[in-house]
Amino acid sequence: MTDIPSLLYTDVEDDLRATLRGLLADRCPWSDVLARVDTDEPYDESLWKSVAEDLGLAGLLIPESLGGAGATAREAAVTLEELARAVAPIPYYPSAILATTALTASPASEARDNALPALAAGTAIATLTIPATTAPGAEFPASITGSLDANGQLHLTGAATTVLAADRADLLVVPVLIDGEPHLALVDATAPGLTRTRATTLDATRPVGTITLDGVPATAIADPTQAPAALAHALVTGAALLASEQLGVAERSLEETVTYLKTRHQFGRPIGSYQALRHRAADLWADIAAARATARYAAAALAEGSDDAPIAASLAQAYCSDVAVHAAEECVQMHGGIGFTWEHPAHLYLKRAMSLSLLQGTPTHHRAALGGLVNLPSA
């Protein structure tokens, strides 16, 4: 434990950030994000194309041999920071993180090795059919079961609720019980028997929905010796990297706040000269500095394949979740009335931060889980 990996950003990561931030500043201003909420098109397909295809970021976690960039969780973390700063309405997290890591952790197979290059290229979007609130360490889901027909073809039946990008995914990575045993299966979302709905979500930039399967043909890609570990890996990776989204939202919230504190005048002086607000902004900055170290550690632990990754992931979620929500809440409050209006971006950050805190386990959940991981048993 005394050997802490680098928690700084490498030059490569800084470059990646600069490129992506430039793209998002140009193509994803918050006003566009907001306008989309009142439409029936939650995703910015054109932005997805730029991020995934043009910048090649959808394949960060995919090996070069399968068309990806062969990068690590560190670069993916930087990508998520930036996407979250912009509240970008693209399904990067479900596809390029959750589904991708479930696939890369599954053994090589024709189905998998056809899917991953498409994901890397961004020409297909995938998701993992589990409730978005599923935390690392959860029991293997039992809501979908599979059976073989006379031809040996696998068919899946069941449903999963609050699946991220349920309405958009082209490919589904499905945890499924076959004869009571855990497997992962790959499903083409256009297959017969598959229906999906989109829920209205608190964070309108990140829809969830229900996937219902009624004898849908599927291909098994991980068997009982592989599936639980692959799913667990995806969940740990997801939780660890969400911390970088939380970091990004928190940073952006504070930046907006500080800018406003410098310009807004009341009682003849800028409100940022009032000590109570100065102190609250300073505390937020300190919290965010700590969140950055924690999120970086989670990413670094994944990148290194460290045994500490589950601890790092739960630690990051236990800490960064609350920092993001607090920063976004303070952003609303320190803006006063304007921060509570639809026409100001503060509510976008608030909804993203609050929604993030519920994904892949709440802070309360992760603290309890950490107890088991660090030998501090519950009562």
């Binding site: 979500t201 608190l202 009032y274 009335g337 209006t341 026409e343 609050m354 929604s355 519920l358």
Partner: protein, 402 residues
């Protein structure tokens, strides 16, 4: 209202007699509600402590309670507060204290009956906590004032016939001295009302744009330059009596949280239990604190705890709705509806998703005095701590940095 000191010697018995006469002349059961309220106004039973002719009898304020009880006993419905809360709560006392005879007779009766709804045009985009810094200009032009500016956070503006308007008439004076107060006919040309959408998706408030609006000088309240004083009468009446009575245990936002906890054992975890209990304790403590404020008021010893009550109301709503979202699990990710629609303040907003209440609670620490301003009020008025240095009170308004 110096004229309502009760020196006229109206007694409770006289009030009761007048109510009986009113009910005999106009049967509450069969008379149209608005029409009945008009008769009630004419009988001096609208606000018994208002002067005669203004819907009152110049009676002691405490006798209002007698009138209400007696009228209720006679089967009469009270005035519809939900239809015109700002008029009844703040407009009427302002007109009564600062209005001319002509203004009183024109304005008070339809305000009371609800035929004319009122709103308040005080806050501006640049003047929120710092109300006295407002920029809406009123320039004298013959017998009129020409008004230009933008107001915000205006509830009921889209239904209102009248507004309480605070505007700057002399930018060369220090900020508090250059303000004048008007009763604005919202149907005048140049008044434009737009809904102001909130983080929740809906609009409880409006923005009001005033473009070359001509207000006759006869609708000025009190003297030119006395606007700050008049607005204080309005604002003193704004305080909703949070601590007015004893709410039941689990009466607030803790209610759905407790219900969820009781009905869905699967959401329970040990750590969440402590959080639910913390929220329960906060709610119950606030209930007792509010009850104590009510008891102090009833004992004629109003305390400054109202500001504290509003701070804790906001905090509890915010913390408890957040916990509600966490307890909601998957449901916490969803929202019922983002469609923009107008909702009246004080109108029912029951049955919405937890996310709605979480977002709406964020407004509680901003609307009607931010938590920061209220802390300052306590520091100044209760603790009598030294004030922060101020640079804006003596300068001409136009020279204040903004």
């Amino acid at each position: 209202m110096p004229q309502n000191s009760g020196a006229t010697g109206v007694t409770a018995e006289e009030i009761r007699t007048r109510v009986r006469e009113l009910a005999a002349a106009h049967d509450p059961a069969t008379t149209d509600h608005v029409e009945f309220l008009g008769h009630r106004f004419d009988a001096g039973l609208a606000w018994v402590h208002f002067p005669v002719g203004c819907g009152g009898l110049g009676a002691p304020r405490a006798l209002q309670q007698v009138a209400e009880q007696e009228l209720a006993a006679a089967g009469a419905k009270p005035a519809n507060v939900y239809r015109n809360p700002i008029g009844l709560g703040m407009g009427a006392p302002t007109v009564a204290v600062h209005g001319t005879e002509e203004q009183r007779s024109r304005l008070l009766r339809p305000l009371w009956t609800g035929e004319e709804v009122w709103c308040q045009l005080f806050s501006e985009p640049g003047a929120g906590s710092d109300l006295a810094g407002l920029a809406t200009r009123a320039v004298r032009d013959g017998d009129d004032w020409i008004v230009n500016g933008q107001k915000v956070w205006t509830s009921f503006a889209h239904k209102a016939r009248w507004a309480m308007l605070l505007a700057r008439t002399d930018p060369d004076l220090p900020k508090h001295q250059g303000l004048t107060y008007f009763f604005l006919d919202m149907s005048l040309p140049g008044v434009e009302v737009r809904p102001l959408r909130q983080a929740t998706g809906q609009a409880e408030f409006n923005e009001v744009f005033l473009t070359d609006v001509r207000i006759p000088d006869s609708m000025r309240a009190d003297e030119v330059g006395k606007g700050w004083t008049v607005s204080n009468t309005t604002l003193m009446n704004e305080r909703v009596a949070i601590g007015g009575g004893a709410s039941p245990r689990e009466g607030g936002v803790i209610s759905p949280v407790a219900a969820l906890w009781r009905s869905r054992p699967e959401v329970r975890t040990p750590a969440l239990h402590d959080q639910v209990m913390k929220a329960w304790v906060e709610a119950e403590v606030a209930r007792l604190a509010n009850a104590r404020i009510g008891q102090q008021l009833a004992a004629g010893k109003p305390g400054p705890e109202g500001s504290a009550a509003k701070i804790s109301f906001a905090r509890i709503n915010q913390e408890t709705t957040r916990l509600w979202l966490e307890l909601s699990g998957e449901d916490g990710l969803t929202y019922d509806d983002w469609t923009m629609r107008r909702v009246d303040l004080g109108g029912s907003d029951g049955g919405r998703s937890a996310g709605y209440y979480y977002l709406r609670a964020k407004g509680n620490s901003i609307e009607g005095g931010t938590t920061e301003i209220l802390r300052g009020v306590i520091a100044d008025r209760v603790l009598e701590l030294p004030r922060e240095p101020r640079t804006d009170t003596k300068l001409p308004w136009k020279e204040i940095p903004r």
